[in-house]
Each structure stands twice: as C-alpha cells, then as structure tokens.
Symmetry: C2
Subunit: 366 residues, 2 copies
C-alpha cells in the first residue's frame, strides 16, 4: 500500500557482499570526534575521553516487528535506528554511533537495501550519529535488522532504573497511545487494500497516529532539556512496551511502589477519537500499547517547580512504599486498580466490574 | 547427528521474553572492572579509562552460516562468540564484553536456548569477557544470532589494516585450511547419516579438522605473545574468509602488493590428508577456505629476529610495491600466480595450465 514502486531491481548477487559493504561505506561520512575508525577494518574504534561508554542493541525480524506490506523500507530504517537511540537517551546519555547488521533474502534487490539504509542515514543525520560498522549477510527467509547503538556520558550524569526514592514524582514526556492506534489503522487499511487494491484510503484524520507508528523519534531533546532545567532524574526508562510495563520495571529495579493517575496520562485528541472508533479505552492504549518511545522518569519532589510549566513534560503520579504496590487511580471513579503489564483483558474486565458495581451501588442508593 | 537428544522440551511461550531475559541474567556474573552495568537497564555502561573502545558485530543465520543438523547448539554459541572476539584481537585489542541478540522460532524449546547460551558463557569464561546485554525476540523461521563484541586498547597499541610498508614481512599464526575440511567432513557424514541413521561414523581421523570447524578459538594468546615479544604489527586482520581474501584486504587498505609463498603456508598433516581424500589442493583450502580465525599480520623486517623461533608464527611472504600486485609463488614450480579471492576455479585451472605447460616444456627439452 505505502510501498514504493521499484523502478529498478538489481539482484543483490550482482554486487555481492563486498560490493554492498563498499556501497554503504561510500554513503557514510564520520562526523563525530569520538568516531576514530568506522567501516573498513575488523572493528570500529571510538574515543570517549573521561566519559563512560553506553551500549544498547535490538533485533527486528520481518513478520514479527514489521510488515513490509505497509511499512516503507525507508521508514523502517529510520525507526530501527531511532528505537535504539531511544535506549541510549533513557540512560540520560548522548547517542553518537551505531553498528548495523542486516540479513536479507534474495527477494530484496539492491535498491530496496539502499532505501533501508537511506532511512537509517536520515536518522543518523538528524541525531548526529555515525554509522561506524556492521555486517551484511544472507537470510533464507525474511529481513532481519540488528542495531547496536553507542553513546557516552559522564559517570555522574548517567541515570539507571534503580534510583527512585519514595515520594519522587513520576513524569512522562510527550503523549502516549498514538503508536498503538497508528498500527491498528495501518493493519486495517492494509486488509481493505488487499481486498480491493483500487481503494485509496484517506488517512489524513490519522496522520499523527500513523507518523508516531512509522516514524517515531528518540527524545534526545528531553535529555538536553533536563540538563538545561538542571534536573537530573533519579531513574529513567523509555516506553517501548507501554507505560504499565515500564512503571513496573522502575518499581522492580528501585524497590518502590507507584501511584499513576489515569486522568493525568497525556494523550493526543487523535488517540481519544481512535479509541472511540476502535471501541478501545484510550488509556489502555497508553498503558499497554507500547512503541511510544517517550521517556518515563522520576524526579525529587523539590524539582517540581523546575518542570511544571513545561509543555513536553507531564507529572502522572508518584513513587510510594514498595508494600503499596503499583496502582492506577482510574478516571472519574477515583478507585485504585493494580497496574499490570498483562495486557488488555484484566483492565478492561476490571473497568467493567467497577462500572457494574457503581451502577449497582447507585441503584441501591436510589 | 551430533545434536543432543533433548530430554525436556519446555515451550518458550511458557516463560515468555521477560522470563528468558531473567534466565539469562541469572546465569551471568560480571567479572571485568570495565563492566559497570550489565543486563537489566536500557543500556549497558562500560568504562575504559585512558583507552579507546573497540567494537565489532556479526550476524549468523540458520541455513546460511550453520546447519543445526550437525552443529550442536553449545558449539554454535561458543563459535558465535569466538568469531566476534577474533575481530577485536585483529585490532590488537583486548575483548572484554559482548552483547548477544537472538531471534528464535517456536520450534526451539527453552532447553535449546539454554544450551546455546551455555556455549556462549563457556567462551565468555575462557576469554574473560562479560555478557552485558542483548535482545531476545521471535523469528518466523530459523535461528538468527547477532553478537557485538567490545574491547579496549591504548590508542598507540591499536593496529589497523592500513599500516603495511613495503618489505614488511607477512606473518600468520597457527595453521590454515583445517576448518574448511572440517566442514566438508561434517557435511559428508551428515548426508551418510540422513541416508542411514544407524551408521555411526568414525570421525577420529578428522578430530583436528572437526574441532577447528566446530570450536575455533580467537588468537588472544597471539595478541599477548606479540606484546611479550615487543612486536607491534604494522597491520593486522583475522582470517575469516581465507588467506587470499585477507591478504587482498591488507593490500587494498595499505596500498602495497604482496608475495605469498605457497610452500610456507602452515598446514596440519590432517589438512594434507583431507586434501588427498577430497581431491582438493590443500593450499587452496588454506587460501580460500576461510573460518580459520588465525591472525594475519605484517611486521617490519628488523623484527624478524624476535618472532622467527616461535612455533605459533610463520612468515609466509612479504609486502612489495603496489604496482607488483598480489602474487602467490607456487610450490615446486616457483612460478608466480596472481592471488585472487575469486574462489577455487581460477587457481585450479591455472595450476593445471602450469602443469601442462611444464610438461610440454620438459618434453621439448628432452
């Protein structure tokens, strides 16, 4: 549907692995001082004087993490890089290099690989990151992408998951739930298109949702903003699996509980509308949808003044004693429901039970 | 054939991705001072005070790089780590950490993944390397392994591919060609076994060859030996694709030519025997077989004294002017043939032509 019509299809076998490596090498220019040696030797060499090296890696497989039926290769390349940079940002570190490995089957022509790398290089340019190495190989089936992101930061500036203190505020950047609905829309329109390729869908009411799914950003700007605001989070994580799952990770690693207020969770108007259209509670998309790549972090209560006017940051709860567990205070009813990363069912069911109980209690009162 | 009979088969879905990560995390203990934070945060944090960070990555895909019909998972894990460490050694650096990402399909039970990681951890223990992070994900088809190896070295000790000077000696560690014949034997015996599973092959005449294929080692000992001998190579590369291909890489990057003497190429007696058995010139296995993971390096002529008595090191040629190209002086006939990484055919054909020409010239002389 969104895939480009390839004008030219050069078989990969025509240029071979070394040809492909040369092609990638030629399209890359090292820009960071810390990149001493890039593609073209047995290993890359990096220099982080006086700073720690921060590393993260992710693997994406076709049919599991992406569907080339509706994800353009250039977007896929961009997203694959950005999601890795997001992990470096979640350490409060500055991403500076990536290593990219891909396995491709014969069905991908050279032009498709070019498109994939062009998306990666656009992300590299935007985030001032150098592509310093990797591997290109064959796969007997689909496309596999493995990216290692490298960053750096002073020891005292690095933020782990384990520093939350009781009463710290829980803060999230941007808004949540959009990437989930973006995926629902792309999947739905792909089904419509498969049934009738002549139909040209009008996706404009969903542009924000689709952009958040296809072209997410790493919140390096938030890392820089926090430094400007002179706020060092006590703990930080990026939201890849969903707000609920990440809150539970912070809870587990920091040995604290959390209260999250459903009504505080920042959501775009398109998320609310899509929730109604798909008959899915929008909060659940925010809690369990994932792929938002926003930063979730905690700050000491006394730093509240420094962030409270900022439109990019929302306080959504606070840390409690571990014994109190992790709970969501639901909108309207103001009742506590245990926060779980078990997915949708339990929360939906709970909501229905609460509504039922409220109705019964109301009718009893009447 | 060599695969273990699994006693227990726990479906991966039973423990889930987080269960698998916990399982891996629990089996890992960080031992290096440079490993500040390992598995369990958004990224790993490493510290290389006063040294450069050296990084290399490789991707292995089932059916392309390994065949689980005759490669036990524990050996596969070991080899996957070692081949990456070999790249770090080829920079004259000390490997210290790895990141491991795997994509697996449903057909792999938890016990199979345990076996794979146990092989990786044996390699980690042997080479004093910490497993500090990675990713575990699903694949719609086979097994994919992507490993990033990290090492460190002082700036002035790092050795690149581009430092060869004319008249430098070309030196190789260990012996060559065995891994190639190991693969031929495993493939042959696998075919025999598929035709008749009752046949138990006697592989003892090939034990060295099979070990070199299934369980290669990274020559970290050579990196340390060179330091002891006070020899700093002018350039270095590891032999993954074959002596010919790697010599051409050094030539290209350093802008020199090379002369390699066929009769100097170190080969084990089992390689010579296997060459006869398979009717393949053993030198060609050494030149183009690959997967030997020995180090190929150049040293100044004046350092010859320091290495010449060492049984682990063999001088096989020297660097020349770029204009002379890369040539092999063939055994016996002492004629020069251009070194190519184009595989077997051209060299075999050339040999036959030389033999024919020699015979004709001899008969003319008679």
């Amino acid at each position: 549907m969104l895939e480009d019509k390839e004008q030219q299809r050069t078989p990969l076998s025509e240029i071979g692995e070394f040809g492909l490596i040369h092609r990638i090498k030629d399209s890359v220019q090292l820009k960071n001082e810390s990149s001493i040696k890039g593609i073209g030797d047995d290993a890359a060499v990096l220099s982080f004087e006086g700073e720690k090296t921060v590393l993260s890696t992710d693997m994406l497989t076709e049919g599991v993490h992406f569907n080339l039926g509706y994800v353009p290769l250039q977007h896929l390349g961009y997203k694959a890089v950005v999601t890795n940079l997001s992990d470096i940002c979640a350490m409060n570190a500055i991403p500076s290099q990536i290593l990219v490995s891909i396995a491709v089957s014969d069905r991908f022509p050279v032009e498709a690989i070019d498109e994939l790398y062009s998306g990666m290089l656009i992300a590299c340019q935007k985030y001032k990151v150098d592509l310093v190495g990797g591997d290109t190989t064959s796969s007997q089936s689909g496309l596999v992408i493995s990216i290692t992101a490298i960053g750096h930061q002073k020891k005292e500036e690095i933020v782990y998951r384990n520093g939350v203190k009781e009463n710290d505020l829980l803060v999230v950047s941007g808004d949540l739930g959009a990437a989930y609905f973006g995926l629902q829309i792309l999947e739905r329109e792909n089904e419509v298109w498969k049934a009738n390729p002549a139909v040209q869908p009008d996706l404009s009411p969903y542009n924000y949702l689709i952009e958040r799914q296809l072209k997410p950003e790493a919140r390096l700007d938030i890392v820089k903003l926090l430094k400007e605001l002179d706020v060092k989070p006590t703990a930080m994580i990026d939201i890849s699996d969903g707000l609920a799952s990440e809150t539970l990770h912070l809870s587990e690693e920091s040995n604290v509980g959390f209260v999250v207020y459903e009504e505080k969770i920042p959501m775009d108007q398109q998320v609310i509308s899509a929730g109604e259209e798909f008959d899915v509670n929008a909060s659940i998309a925010a809690l369990n949808g994932g792929e938002d790549y926003e930063l979730l972090f905690t700050i000491p209560l006394e730093d509240h003044e420094k962030i409270k006017a900022n439109p990019h940051l929302t306080v959504i709860g606070h840390a409690t004693a571990k014994s109190e567990g992790c709970n969501l205070v639901s909108r309207g009813f103001q009742t506590k429901v245990p926060l779980t990363s078990q997915g949708w069912d339990s929360f939906q069911k709970y909501k229905q039970e609460v509504i039922k109980a409220k109705k019964e209690s109301n009718s009893e009162e009447e």
